[in-house]
């Protein structure tokens, strides 16, 4: 499977997960990600792998927990309200240090919201929507091809760091069709090519912690309850050390025309696709505009943005929300430059012209300076 095929994002990510060695998929129907469940219900049995339509998202994430505890690669997918229900399980996965891949094809919220594309779950994904002191790795692809490339990476990161990894897509990415090249089937016990990082191969640790039956060895216990004084604190420090390693080693982001830019637009996911079009048009009109696109939303490309803020320029954050990632940009810029924001919540999708217009409005004060 190396030729280009036309697929919608939801089906493409599902096939990419299969190619990445996903042993089990558990899910509950919710729009706009139903193509994933339908595709998996057909393809997983073909591969002699596991598909279960669960009775709820609570059950789905706990089925993932069970499969993962036995050392299998397991995933679930849902959309915003369903992901809220999964937060309990995600916290337990983080506490028990179990790998898992969770795809969120975001829709409008809060509440039942609507089924239009949105980026309103950034806080929930990057801040850990469940209880306790934990992080999840969050990948924010902006094309169907990148969605496909995210899947083997997500499984590898989950296995390497023993933690849940969230793939944060949205209704447009899930639904739209684009030509994609699907990844080659991975070798067992070895990572896949990570194109963003000089094609290095990940060597994944063996899962000696997995519950496989205590045959000729002492029992394995997977738990997240630590009652004895100080033990949980130690575990939290261990998790912190792991998270620091991830922040050091796993940041992915893309930059375009930043060096001479007076305005740097920061956007992720499908919003970044729209921003790209607007920035190209702005450049055609002679405006000095560039963009930075975080691919990992956690770990956030704080250093990259901080470096860009060393020269005076305006940062302009565009999101399909009322402003969530903008807080991380502000933390990275740390007062060194103005950070402005434009967002469309509730399923609103900005047009290229709309963003271009906003960029032009920003250039006025800089020209007068």
């Amino acid at each position: 499977m190396n030729e280009r095929v036309l697929m919608c994002g939801n089906e493409a990510l599902a096939e990419a997960a299969i190619q990445a060695g996903c042993d089990a998929y558990f899910g509950y129907p919710i729009t706009p990600q139903n193509e994933i469940t339908a595709y998996m219900s057909r393809r997983m049995p073909e591969e002699n792998r596991v598909f279960v339509q669960s009775e709820s998202e609570l059950a789905a994430i706990n089925m993932v927990f069970g499969a993962s505890a036995t050392g299998k690669r397991a995933m679930t997918s849902s959309s915003s309200p369903g992901i809220s229900l999964m937060q309990e399980g995600i916290s337990y996965l983080a506490g028990a240090e179990l790998p898992a891949v969770v795809v969120n094809v975001m829709r409008g919220g809060p509440g039942l919201g609507n089924i239009a594309p949105s980026q309103g779950d950034y806080f929930q994904a990057t801040r850990g929507g469940g209880h306790g002191d934990y992080r999840t790795i969050v990948l924010g692809p902006s094309s169907v091809q990148e969605l496909v490339d995210c899947m083997p990476l997500a499984f590898d990161l989950a296995d390497q760091y023993r933690m849940p990894v969230v793939v944060l897509a949205d209704g447009i990415l899930g639904q739209m069709m684009e030509p994609v090249v699907l990844p080659k089937t991975r070798d067992e016990g070895r990572g896949t090519r990570d194109e963003g990082r000089a094609s290095r191969i990940r060597v994944l640790p063996t899962k000696d912690w997995a519950l496989t039956g205590a045959n000729g060895r002492p029992q394995n216990i997977i738990r997240s309850l630590w009652l004895v004084e100080g033990v949980l604190e130690k575990l939290n420090y261990k998790l912190r050390d792991k998270y620091e390693q991830i922040q050091k080693n796993e940041v992915l982001c893309e930059q375009y025309e930043v060096s001479d830019a007076e305005i740097v637009v920061v956007a992720y996911g499908i919003a970044a696709r729209i921003v790209r079009g607007a920035v190209d048009k702005a450049r055609e009109e002679g405006l000095k505009v560039g963009w930075i696109r975080p691919i990992t939303l956690w770990p956030f490309p704080t250093e990259q943005i901080s470096r860009a803020a060393e020269e005076f320029r305006v940062f302009f954050v565009v999101e399909m929300s009322l402003g969530q990632m903008v807080e991380d940009v502000k933390l990275a810029v740390a007062g060194k430059a103005p950070v402005l924001f434009y967002g469309r919540p509730g399923g609103g999708v900005p047009t290229v012209e709309e963003i271009l217009d906003k960029i032009k409005q920003l250039t006025l004060p800089t020209k007068n300076r």
Partner: protein
Amino acid sequence: MSMKKVFTRTPTFKDCPTHYCPGCGHGIAHRLIAETIDELGIRGRTIGIAPVGCSVLAYNYLDVDMVEVAHGRAPAVATGMKRTNPDKIIFSYQGDGDLAAIGTAEIIHAAHRGEQITVIFINNAVFGMTGGQMAPTTVLGQVTATTQKGRDARSEGYPLQISELLAVLPGAIYVERCALSSPAQIRKAKKAVKHAFELQVNGAGGLSLVELLSPCPTYWRMSPVKAMDWLEKEMTNAFPLGRLKG
């Protein structure tokens, strides 16, 4: 004269001090499971699931691979395990708060799908770990931390017979209720636990569940002996013993 050893610890039951209260039924239930695992010779391929509640630390006593899961979610976790590992023996150990309150959806749907797992359901008519609050299985008139004048059907509903509910589902192939109240009853309970595991070992094709009525002297505010007596005389009125299915 040489002495003959007639009773000993079964290997899968760990040699350690208990954290359970005097007269608690959990220790007995754990032992029945450990004996079953050893008699069937399945220790090397058994995975157990501990609930939230007093028995969250079940892995301290049962020497098999075990996982501790969120309150009520054990049947979903068991589903994930068994579907990906059909050759393993998967059992969950769940209390009445866990299985009959917060985890009602998970147990009903695991049974409904006919998951090939074994469920040991401990019914002691209260939430033990959190301080003796009303459970769905609290009997009428029973005083608990949250039914201080006794459970009243008009405001708190009736004791939930979840085993009867499960028994009507085609996917549940064996459902039996036993009591940990006397040596005779415990011997019956052992047979039921063993049968429930055997069905899974033999690939009988569905969910097997044994409900064990279990004393909680601490939150029944009784002596252990009185608790055994109350269990047999009162609790079995709300929860009749016997095989409900299979």
